[in-house]
Protein backbone atom coordinates (compact mmCIF):
# COMPACT_ATOMS: atom_id res chain seq x y z
CA UNK A 1 0.00 0.00 0.00
CA UNK A 2 1.49 3.31 -1.15
CA UNK A 3 0.47 5.98 1.33
CA UNK A 4 0.67 8.93 -1.12
CA UNK A 5 -1.73 7.23 -3.55
CA UNK A 6 -3.92 6.21 -0.63
CA UNK A 7 -4.15 9.80 0.67
CA UNK A 8 -4.99 11.22 -2.75
CA UNK A 9 -7.76 8.69 -3.37
CA UNK A 10 -9.18 9.07 0.14
CA UNK A 11 -9.29 12.87 -0.33
CA UNK A 12 -11.19 12.42 -3.58
CA UNK A 13 -13.57 9.98 -1.87
CA UNK A 14 -14.37 12.60 0.78
CA UNK A 15 -14.79 15.31 -1.86
CA UNK A 16 -17.16 13.08 -3.85
CA UNK A 17 -19.11 12.15 -0.72
CA UNK A 18 -19.62 15.78 0.27
CA UNK A 19 -20.36 16.74 -3.33
CA UNK A 20 -23.01 14.07 -3.73
CA UNK A 21 -25.04 15.37 -0.78
CA UNK A 22 -24.56 19.10 -1.38
CA UNK A 23 -25.19 19.34 -5.12
CA UNK A 24 -28.71 20.51 -6.04
CA UNK A 25 -29.22 18.58 -9.27
CA UNK A 26 -30.22 14.96 -8.67
CA UNK A 27 -28.67 13.73 -11.91
CA UNK A 28 -25.26 15.18 -11.00
CA UNK A 29 -25.60 13.64 -7.55
CA UNK A 30 -26.12 10.23 -9.16
CA UNK A 31 -23.08 10.67 -11.39
CA UNK A 32 -20.91 11.89 -8.49
CA UNK A 33 -22.05 8.84 -6.53
CA UNK A 34 -20.83 6.70 -9.42
CA UNK A 35 -17.45 8.42 -9.24
CA UNK A 36 -17.42 7.78 -5.47
CA UNK A 37 -18.02 4.07 -6.11
CA UNK A 38 -15.23 3.96 -8.65
CA UNK A 39 -12.76 5.57 -6.23
CA UNK A 40 -13.79 3.05 -3.58
CA UNK A 41 -13.11 0.34 -6.16
CA UNK A 42 -9.58 1.72 -6.58
CA UNK A 43 -9.12 1.63 -2.80
CA UNK A 44 -10.21 -2.03 -2.60
CA UNK A 45 -7.81 -2.89 -5.42
CA UNK A 46 -4.93 -1.13 -3.63
CA UNK A 47 -5.69 -3.09 -0.46
CA UNK A 48 -5.52 -6.33 -2.43
CA UNK A 49 -9.22 -7.24 -2.28
CA UNK A 50 -9.58 -7.68 -6.02
CA UNK A 51 -12.89 -9.55 -5.86
CA UNK A 52 -14.49 -6.80 -3.80
CA UNK A 53 -13.05 -4.19 -6.17
CA UNK A 54 -14.58 -6.04 -9.10
CA UNK A 55 -17.97 -6.14 -7.40
CA UNK A 56 -17.75 -2.46 -6.50
CA UNK A 57 -16.87 -1.52 -10.08
CA UNK A 58 -19.67 -3.53 -11.64
CA UNK A 59 -22.42 -2.99 -9.08
CA UNK A 60 -21.54 0.35 -7.53
CA UNK A 61 -20.17 2.30 -10.48
CA UNK A 62 -22.10 0.43 -13.16
CA UNK A 63 -25.59 -0.82 -12.50
CA UNK A 64 -26.55 1.23 -9.45
CA UNK A 65 -25.70 4.47 -11.27
CA UNK A 66 -27.96 3.41 -14.13
CA UNK A 67 -30.74 2.60 -11.68
CA UNK A 68 -30.29 6.00 -9.97
CA UNK A 69 -30.43 7.79 -13.32
CA UNK A 70 -33.53 5.80 -14.27
CA UNK A 71 -35.18 6.84 -11.00
CA UNK A 72 -34.14 10.48 -11.46
CA UNK A 73 -35.67 10.55 -14.95
CA UNK A 74 -39.03 9.71 -13.39
CA UNK A 75 -38.90 12.70 -11.04
CA UNK A 76 -40.21 16.17 -11.90
CA UNK A 77 -38.51 19.53 -11.46
CA UNK A 78 -41.16 20.79 -9.03
CA UNK A 79 -43.22 18.88 -6.49
CA UNK A 80 -46.97 18.72 -7.03
CA UNK A 81 -48.08 19.98 -3.60
Amino acid sequence: MIWQLDTIILTFVIICGIGAITVKDLLSAAVIFGAYSFLMCLLWAIMGAVDVAFTEASVGAGVSTVLFVAAVFNTKRRSKD
Partner: protein, 276 residues
Protein backbone atom coordinates in the same frame (compact mmCIF):
# COMPACT_ATOMS: atom_id res chain seq x y z
CA UNK B 1 -33.39 20.56 14.50
CA UNK B 2 -30.50 20.97 12.06
CA UNK B 3 -28.09 21.75 14.91
CA UNK B 4 -29.32 18.68 16.76
CA UNK B 5 -28.72 16.54 13.69
CA UNK B 6 -25.23 17.95 13.21
CA UNK B 7 -24.40 17.29 16.88
CA UNK B 8 -25.61 13.68 16.58
CA UNK B 9 -23.54 13.16 13.42
CA UNK B 10 -20.40 14.66 14.99
CA UNK B 11 -20.88 12.58 18.16
CA UNK B 12 -21.37 9.31 16.25
CA UNK B 13 -18.53 10.12 13.87
CA UNK B 14 -16.05 10.89 16.62
CA UNK B 15 -17.09 7.71 18.49
CA UNK B 16 -16.49 5.66 15.33
CA UNK B 17 -13.15 7.37 14.68
CA UNK B 18 -12.13 6.81 18.31
CA UNK B 19 -13.00 3.10 18.17
CA UNK B 20 -11.11 2.50 14.91
CA UNK B 21 -7.93 3.10 16.95
CA UNK B 22 -8.57 -0.23 18.68
CA UNK B 23 -8.63 -2.17 15.43
CA UNK B 24 -5.62 -4.31 14.56
CA UNK B 25 -3.34 -2.81 11.92
CA UNK B 26 -3.86 -3.48 8.25
CA UNK B 27 -2.33 -6.86 7.47
CA UNK B 28 -1.44 -7.54 11.12
CA UNK B 29 -0.57 -11.23 11.42
CA UNK B 30 -1.35 -11.36 15.14
CA UNK B 31 -4.91 -10.09 14.86
CA UNK B 32 -7.62 -12.57 16.02
CA UNK B 33 -8.91 -13.19 12.49
CA UNK B 34 -5.45 -14.01 11.21
CA UNK B 35 -4.36 -16.42 13.94
CA UNK B 36 -6.33 -19.60 13.26
CA UNK B 37 -8.97 -19.23 10.51
CA UNK B 38 -7.16 -17.38 7.72
CA UNK B 39 -4.03 -19.60 7.80
CA UNK B 40 -6.26 -22.63 7.33
CA UNK B 41 -7.86 -21.14 4.22
CA UNK B 42 -4.56 -19.88 2.84
CA UNK B 43 -2.67 -23.14 3.29
CA UNK B 44 -5.38 -25.76 2.90
CA UNK B 45 -7.97 -24.41 0.46
CA UNK B 46 -6.09 -25.50 -2.66
CA UNK B 47 -5.62 -29.09 -1.54
CA UNK B 48 -9.12 -29.35 -0.04
CA UNK B 49 -11.09 -27.86 -2.93
CA UNK B 50 -8.70 -27.68 -5.94
CA UNK B 51 -9.64 -24.02 -6.46
CA UNK B 52 -6.69 -21.60 -6.76
CA UNK B 53 -8.73 -18.45 -6.02
CA UNK B 54 -9.35 -18.83 -2.30
CA UNK B 55 -11.93 -16.04 -2.25
CA UNK B 56 -14.17 -18.17 -4.45
CA UNK B 57 -13.45 -21.22 -2.30
CA UNK B 58 -14.45 -19.36 0.87
CA UNK B 59 -17.51 -17.70 -0.68
CA UNK B 60 -18.98 -20.68 -2.47
CA UNK B 61 -17.82 -23.61 -0.38
CA UNK B 62 -16.73 -22.86 3.19
CA UNK B 63 -19.27 -20.05 3.56
CA UNK B 64 -21.76 -21.36 1.01
CA UNK B 65 -24.71 -20.92 3.33
CA UNK B 66 -24.01 -17.16 3.58
CA UNK B 67 -23.77 -16.79 -0.18
CA UNK B 68 -27.06 -18.63 -0.66
CA UNK B 69 -28.86 -16.10 1.48
CA UNK B 70 -27.05 -13.21 -0.23
CA UNK B 71 -28.56 -14.49 -3.47
CA UNK B 72 -31.91 -14.67 -1.75
CA UNK B 73 -31.49 -11.06 -0.60
CA UNK B 74 -30.88 -9.92 -4.20
CA UNK B 75 -33.91 -11.89 -5.34
CA UNK B 76 -36.01 -10.29 -2.57
CA UNK B 77 -34.85 -6.86 -3.76
CA UNK B 78 -36.17 -7.61 -7.24
CA UNK B 79 -39.41 -8.93 -5.77
CA UNK B 80 -39.79 -5.83 -3.56
CA UNK B 81 -39.32 -3.52 -6.56
CA UNK B 82 -41.96 -5.51 -8.41
CA UNK B 83 -44.51 -5.34 -5.60
CA UNK B 84 -43.88 -1.66 -4.87
CA UNK B 85 -43.75 -0.26 -8.40
CA UNK B 86 -45.58 -2.51 -10.85
CA UNK B 87 -48.84 -1.01 -12.11
CA UNK B 88 -51.18 -2.81 -14.44
CA UNK B 89 -51.50 -0.98 -17.73
CA UNK B 90 -54.46 -2.91 -19.12
CA UNK B 91 -56.82 0.09 -19.12
CA UNK B 92 -54.95 3.00 -20.64
CA UNK B 93 -53.35 2.18 -23.95
CA UNK B 94 -52.16 5.51 -25.30
CA UNK B 95 -50.24 4.39 -28.34
CA UNK B 96 -49.98 7.71 -30.10
CA UNK B 97 -46.55 8.02 -31.72
CA UNK B 98 -45.40 5.91 -34.64
CA UNK B 99 -42.37 6.16 -36.89
CA UNK B 100 -42.43 5.17 -40.52
CA UNK B 101 -39.29 3.06 -40.76
CA UNK B 102 -38.31 3.78 -44.35
CA UNK B 103 -38.58 7.57 -44.24
CA UNK B 104 -38.24 8.38 -40.54
CA UNK B 105 -41.44 10.46 -40.52
CA UNK B 106 -43.14 10.52 -37.13
CA UNK B 107 -46.91 10.16 -36.99
CA UNK B 108 -48.89 11.59 -34.11
CA UNK B 109 -52.20 9.77 -33.90
CA UNK B 110 -54.98 11.74 -32.23
CA UNK B 111 -57.68 10.16 -30.07
CA UNK B 112 -59.96 7.92 -32.12
CA UNK B 113 -57.47 7.79 -34.96
CA UNK B 114 -56.60 4.62 -36.78
CA UNK B 115 -53.55 2.89 -35.33
CA UNK B 116 -51.27 1.45 -38.02
CA UNK B 117 -51.31 -2.33 -37.87
CA UNK B 118 -48.53 -3.28 -40.25
CA UNK B 119 -45.57 -3.42 -37.88
CA UNK B 120 -42.98 -4.05 -40.57
CA UNK B 121 -43.56 -0.53 -41.92
CA UNK B 122 -44.35 1.38 -38.73
CA UNK B 123 -42.72 1.16 -35.33
CA UNK B 124 -44.21 2.46 -32.12
CA UNK B 125 -42.02 5.02 -30.32
CA UNK B 126 -42.01 6.62 -26.88
CA UNK B 127 -43.96 9.82 -26.41
CA UNK B 128 -41.29 11.83 -24.56
CA UNK B 129 -37.95 11.75 -26.30
CA UNK B 130 -36.88 9.27 -28.90
CA UNK B 131 -33.97 10.12 -31.12
CA UNK B 132 -33.55 7.50 -33.81
CA UNK B 133 -29.78 7.41 -33.56
CA UNK B 134 -28.28 4.81 -35.86
CA UNK B 135 -24.72 5.22 -34.52
CA UNK B 136 -25.69 4.46 -30.92
CA UNK B 137 -27.82 1.48 -31.92
CA UNK B 138 -25.19 -0.12 -34.15
CA UNK B 139 -22.33 0.52 -31.71
CA UNK B 140 -24.24 -0.99 -28.81
CA UNK B 141 -25.30 -3.95 -30.93
CA UNK B 142 -21.64 -4.63 -31.70
CA UNK B 143 -20.42 -4.14 -28.12
CA UNK B 144 -23.12 -6.19 -26.35
CA UNK B 145 -21.96 -9.68 -27.50
CA UNK B 146 -18.47 -9.00 -26.19
CA UNK B 147 -19.82 -7.74 -22.87
CA UNK B 148 -21.89 -10.92 -22.56
CA UNK B 149 -18.91 -13.08 -23.48
CA UNK B 150 -16.86 -11.33 -20.80
CA UNK B 151 -19.68 -11.92 -18.30
CA UNK B 152 -19.70 -15.64 -19.08
CA UNK B 153 -15.91 -15.71 -18.76
CA UNK B 154 -16.09 -14.01 -15.37
CA UNK B 155 -18.59 -16.61 -14.13
CA UNK B 156 -16.76 -19.64 -15.54
CA UNK B 157 -13.25 -18.45 -14.71
CA UNK B 158 -14.06 -17.31 -11.17
CA UNK B 159 -12.16 -20.30 -9.79
CA UNK B 160 -8.85 -19.03 -11.13
CA UNK B 161 -9.17 -15.26 -11.36
CA UNK B 162 -11.16 -12.54 -9.59
CA UNK B 163 -14.83 -12.79 -10.36
CA UNK B 164 -17.66 -15.19 -9.88
CA UNK B 165 -21.39 -15.41 -10.04
CA UNK B 166 -22.24 -11.98 -8.66
CA UNK B 167 -19.89 -9.99 -10.86
CA UNK B 168 -20.59 -12.01 -13.98
CA UNK B 169 -24.33 -11.82 -13.40
CA UNK B 170 -24.17 -8.06 -12.99
CA UNK B 171 -22.15 -7.72 -16.21
CA UNK B 172 -24.65 -9.88 -18.10
CA UNK B 173 -27.54 -7.86 -16.68
CA UNK B 174 -25.78 -4.60 -17.55
CA UNK B 175 -25.44 -5.73 -21.16
CA UNK B 176 -29.20 -6.12 -21.44
CA UNK B 177 -29.70 -2.76 -19.70
CA UNK B 178 -27.38 -1.22 -22.31
CA UNK B 179 -29.58 -2.78 -24.98
CA UNK B 180 -32.65 -1.27 -23.33
CA UNK B 181 -31.03 2.18 -23.19
CA UNK B 182 -29.78 2.13 -26.77
CA UNK B 183 -33.04 0.82 -28.23
CA UNK B 184 -36.15 1.12 -26.09
CA UNK B 185 -37.93 -0.81 -23.38
CA UNK B 186 -40.47 -2.40 -25.72
CA UNK B 187 -37.78 -3.97 -27.92
CA UNK B 188 -36.02 -5.35 -24.85
CA UNK B 189 -39.23 -6.78 -23.47
CA UNK B 190 -39.70 -8.66 -26.74
CA UNK B 191 -36.29 -10.29 -26.16
CA UNK B 192 -36.64 -10.92 -22.43
CA UNK B 193 -40.18 -10.52 -21.15
CA UNK B 194 -40.90 -9.71 -17.55
CA UNK B 195 -42.24 -13.21 -17.02
CA UNK B 196 -38.99 -14.74 -18.33
CA UNK B 197 -36.92 -12.51 -16.07
CA UNK B 198 -39.00 -13.45 -13.03
CA UNK B 199 -39.00 -17.18 -13.75
CA UNK B 200 -35.27 -17.36 -14.53
CA UNK B 201 -34.26 -15.35 -11.46
CA UNK B 202 -36.26 -17.79 -9.36
CA UNK B 203 -34.57 -20.66 -11.21
CA UNK B 204 -31.16 -19.22 -10.29
CA UNK B 205 -31.98 -19.30 -6.57
CA UNK B 206 -33.46 -22.77 -7.00
CA UNK B 207 -30.27 -24.06 -8.68
CA UNK B 208 -28.28 -22.93 -5.63
CA UNK B 209 -30.65 -24.44 -3.11
CA UNK B 210 -31.12 -27.51 -5.31
CA UNK B 211 -27.38 -28.19 -5.35
CA UNK B 212 -27.45 -28.11 -1.57
CA UNK B 213 -30.42 -30.45 -1.45
CA UNK B 214 -28.73 -32.80 -3.93
CA UNK B 215 -25.81 -33.04 -1.51
CA UNK B 216 -28.24 -34.01 1.24
CA UNK B 217 -29.75 -36.61 -1.09
CA UNK B 218 -26.32 -38.24 -1.43
CA UNK B 219 -25.98 -38.45 2.32
CA UNK B 220 -23.80 -35.44 3.16
CA UNK B 221 -24.73 -32.20 4.92
CA UNK B 222 -26.31 -29.27 3.08
CA UNK B 223 -23.94 -27.76 0.46
CA UNK B 224 -21.14 -30.29 1.02
CA UNK B 225 -20.26 -30.73 -2.65
CA UNK B 226 -17.83 -33.62 -2.12
CA UNK B 227 -20.89 -35.90 -1.94
CA UNK B 228 -21.55 -35.20 -5.61
CA UNK B 229 -18.38 -37.05 -6.66
CA UNK B 230 -20.30 -40.04 -7.99
CA UNK B 231 -22.76 -37.87 -9.92
CA UNK B 232 -20.05 -35.72 -11.51
CA UNK B 233 -17.74 -38.65 -12.16
CA UNK B 234 -14.73 -37.27 -10.30
CA UNK B 235 -12.97 -37.55 -6.98
CA UNK B 236 -14.38 -35.72 -3.92
CA UNK B 237 -11.89 -32.83 -4.17
CA UNK B 238 -12.65 -32.03 -7.82
CA UNK B 239 -16.35 -32.49 -7.01
CA UNK B 240 -16.11 -29.54 -4.62
CA UNK B 241 -14.66 -27.44 -7.44
CA UNK B 242 -17.42 -28.50 -9.85
CA UNK B 243 -20.09 -27.99 -7.19
CA UNK B 244 -18.87 -24.40 -6.80
CA UNK B 245 -19.29 -23.89 -10.54
CA UNK B 246 -22.88 -25.14 -10.36
CA UNK B 247 -23.59 -22.75 -7.53
CA UNK B 248 -21.93 -19.82 -9.33
CA UNK B 249 -24.10 -20.44 -12.40
CA UNK B 250 -27.17 -20.27 -10.16
CA UNK B 251 -25.97 -17.01 -8.59
CA UNK B 252 -25.15 -15.53 -12.00
CA UNK B 253 -28.59 -16.35 -13.38
CA UNK B 254 -30.39 -14.95 -10.36
CA UNK B 255 -28.37 -11.71 -10.32
CA UNK B 256 -28.60 -11.12 -14.09
CA UNK B 257 -32.36 -11.44 -14.31
CA UNK B 258 -33.03 -9.58 -11.07
CA UNK B 259 -30.99 -6.62 -12.44
CA UNK B 260 -33.03 -6.64 -15.65
CA UNK B 261 -36.27 -6.97 -13.71
CA UNK B 262 -35.44 -4.06 -11.39
CA UNK B 263 -34.44 -1.93 -14.37
CA UNK B 264 -37.74 -2.65 -16.14
CA UNK B 265 -39.74 -1.56 -13.11
CA UNK B 266 -37.69 1.51 -12.15
CA UNK B 267 -37.10 2.99 -15.62
CA UNK B 268 -40.77 2.85 -16.62
CA UNK B 269 -42.20 3.71 -13.16
CA UNK B 270 -43.90 0.31 -13.07
CA UNK B 271 -45.92 0.65 -16.27
CA UNK B 272 -43.37 -1.12 -18.48
CA UNK B 273 -44.57 0.78 -21.53
CA UNK B 274 -41.99 3.50 -22.06
CA UNK B 275 -38.54 3.39 -20.54
CA UNK B 276 -35.51 5.63 -20.64
Amino acid sequence: MKVFGLLAVILCGSLLLYSTGDFPDWGDKDSPANTYLSPHYITKSLEETAVPNMVTAVLADYRGYDTMFETTVIFSAGLACFFLLRISNKKEKKRTFYRHIATGIILHIKEGGKIPEDTSKFTQIDSQWTPNDLIIKVTCRMIIPFIQLFGLYVIAHGHHSPGGGFQGGVILGASMILFAISHDLRTTRKRISEKTAAILSTTGVLIYAGTGLLCMLFGAVFLDYSALAWLLGSDPIMARSHGMLMVEIGVGMAVMFVMIWIYYNISSAGKQEEGL
